[in-house]
Subunit: 429 residues, 2 copies
Amino acid sequence: AAPGSFRALNCESVKHWVAARPALQQRLGPADSVESWQVKEVGDGNINFVFIVEGPSGALCVKQALPYVRCVGESWPLTQDRVRIEAAVLAEEAAWCPSHVPAVYLYDKDMALIVMRYLAPPFLILRRGLIAGAIYPRLAEHLATFLAGTLFHTSLIKLNSSEFRKKVAQYENDEMCRLTEQVIFTEPYFTAKNNRWTSPQLDPDVAELQADVAARVAACELKSLFCSKPQALLHGDLHTGSIMVTDAETSVIDPEFAFYGPMAFDVGKILANLLLAYFASDGHEKTPGEREGQRGWLLSCVIDTWTGFSSSFVRLWSEHGAQGDLYPGVLTGPDAPGGADALAACQASFMRQLFHETVQFMGAFIIRRLVGIAHVADMDSISDLDLRATCERRALRFGRRLLVEGAKGELSSIQGLVEVVALLRATSN
Amino acid sequence: AAPGSFRALNCESVKHWVAARPALQQRLGPADSVESWQVKEVGDGNINFVFIVEGPSGALCVKQALPYVRCVGESWPLTQDRVRIEAAVLAEEAAWCPSHVPAVYLYDKDMALIVMRYLAPPFLILRRGLIAGAIYPRLAEHLATFLAGTLFHTSLIKLNSSEFRKKVAQYENDEMCRLTEQVIFTEPYFTAKNNRWTSPQLDPDVAELQADVAARVAACELKSLFCSKPQALLHGDLHTGSIMVTDAETSVIDPEFAFYGPMAFDVGKILANLLLAYFASDGHEKTPGEREGQRGWLLSCVIDTWTGFSSSFVRLWSEHGAQGDLYPGVLTGPDAPGGADALAACQASFMRQLFHETVQFMGAFIIRRLVGIAHVADMDSISDLDLRATCERRALRFGRRLLVEGAKGELSSIQGLVEVVALLRATSN
Ligand SMILES: Nc1ncnc2c1ncn2[C@@H]1O[C@H](COP(=O)(O)OP(=O)(O)O)[C@@H](O)[C@H]1O
Ligand SMILES: Nc1ncnc2c1ncn2[C@@H]1O[C@H](COP(=O)(O)OP(=O)(O)O)[C@@H](O)[C@H]1O
Ligand SMILES: [Mg+2]
Ligand SMILES: [Mg+2]
Ligand SMILES: [Mg+2]
Ligand SMILES: [Mg+2]
Ligand SMILES: [Mg+2]
């Protein structure tokens, strides 16, 4: 499309737009089949429009960004530059873990859209599968691969500092970052009018959170990391609603919030969302204990994602880190005196710090989904409000503890953290 | 000048270049006085050319960057974009502490030059004054003002995050940063061919440093902060050779290495260079104890610079921080519940971390000036090599301790740190 030629597509016009592009049209069917193509708009996210176009030979997914936030409307404008970021990041991620991102067929800047592989059923948004009670045996392994690959290969451990700075600049994503700063790190900690929570049940809990000086200080420090720690190219919105799964496959979508930030942001966000599913599970039981199996799996998934990520990341570092500028071979390679010791010491120190930040970010992500503007369907779909509030209160207490303490004491290992979760669920109301 | 019209000036051509620009010419004298103007090239730095042009009515300083490193030659190319950075930073600094930077009269992009106020004698490069044994009673106060003003006002504590990200991008200074990464954080820690030291006297000390795994790990972590902690607009090269002084005035020149980095880099660099002067002072005594007075002053200058900086910075934060995005008024302002406590807690935590990083950076700066490519005249001008080596060895030991320990134990306050310095000088050879 020509510059300035943006127009919002709908279920009818998207068909003709696709049909006019032979490379796309051929994926769906012969030119004379266009009238028979089926289109549905499935965008259940809050921000963009997503069309599935199906023809006799196949199907496509078309994601288009309007210049505002979908669920709010024109009163909340939002840069369409986010589509440039999303297309570039999908390509970057595909370079490091092609089996965990949808293939992109076309990016059209002026139309602010991306055409990509349709992840057809049985692919399902992970959050919906979790709410339905499902278990995904390979999820932890896939998440670990995705996290380690995307975070390692875009970091200064792998890159030289010129390449690194170019990428940091390329992925500047000001408006999307501002949104995150506001809704995750600022609003939950004061009486912002966007906030909501299960009321009146959680009123005292929210008041207590917002009076908690230590929580506020920690939130500010996390915001500082978010804004001032360009460490790797993050997905930026890696919750269970940005992941599509089958029993065998895992595909990460929707990286429009991507930017260079602290690795712990991505790692912590997915772990926090798995724990939100855990805390919500009591609210979905038709008979008590029905979801005990899923809960056990969710907790091991949290452990396995962290440990799998951590060991993959360190392995990539040992294999490729010497070429990067942060821990160059001359200092930590096998030929440096004590090089192996230095490498091991750098890795241990790095992973310790990363885990600490991950724990704190997890706390912030749990909190914002309970008292901030955007909640999770895991909790919102619990119709008994007292039961929902009980689930949410446990999560909120746990979130506060993570945020304030970080990886200290019982929380200094992922196993310890998970034990605290289980105990808290079993013993608190 | 027109694009592509760069030419290197010399003592003759600079006169005519200035004379052809009426606003500049008028500062020096009437048009018919040009033939009588005197020019000297005074660039004693390693990188650029600096001309002083004097006429009957006044004088000017013209600093020009060639597309390579002056002291090496065309074999070490270096971007002339550094002049854009220098001009922009001088203007930015002037906004926050006009009495501590030379006024800029003109920046010419194509000629890669800056015309600025000539800091005429008695202005002297601080390093030279220190080598000569001088004391500058107002130096600490001025350095504190400069550091607090420039670092606070360019930080996310003061700015909103969009403004902040724009500035981070504007001041990207890739080539200059790479130089720093190489010569400060990498080469001193292995057998790089650029390294030099007082040999054979320091051979065992250098071998020990380069076998020290903890020092190497710490150097890597500082490099990580340098590359991945955009916290404020740094001067980037704030040693005693970038500061011109009189008894009453202090002017900071030469910010061509400026970029968004960790505040501790600037603070630590100037403190480290003051301590290098301290450790060198024994080498300049004609009679033992002659410089005891200067030494006492140097140590109080280190203390007063840190404490003055720290209290000014916190004061600016309390006054202007509510408008910035990092610790916004809604979270830490007087109207937030417990807002004053939250502000105090954020400030204490921030300053504690900043001091820790400052101590570690000081260590790295001391080390690189003793074993890396670029040394300091404070030490180099000690002609008795055994005496020089003794001074350098003390500094090197101290630097290693700072680098590895950071602000722990005795080093957890600036007073404690200074006591360690004095004891080390008095008791070690
Ligand atoms: N490639 C795809 N294949 C199948 N469904 C998709 C695909 N991309 C998005 N969707 C569906 O569209 C929804 C919204 O997509 P998403 O990229 O998350 O948009 P938003 O940015 O608005 O959150 C997803 O939850 C999913 O149901
Ligand atoms: N404005 C000035 N007034 C007087 N002398 C100056 C001025 N700027 C630079 N000089 C002199 O020139 C020398 C080199 O300048 P500097 O900016 O440090 O260049 P470099 O980038 O090459 O280190 C300084 O050490 C100082 O002696
Ligand atoms: Mg989405
Ligand atoms: Mg989210
Ligand atoms: Mg999205
Ligand atoms: Mg200089
Ligand atoms: Mg210079």
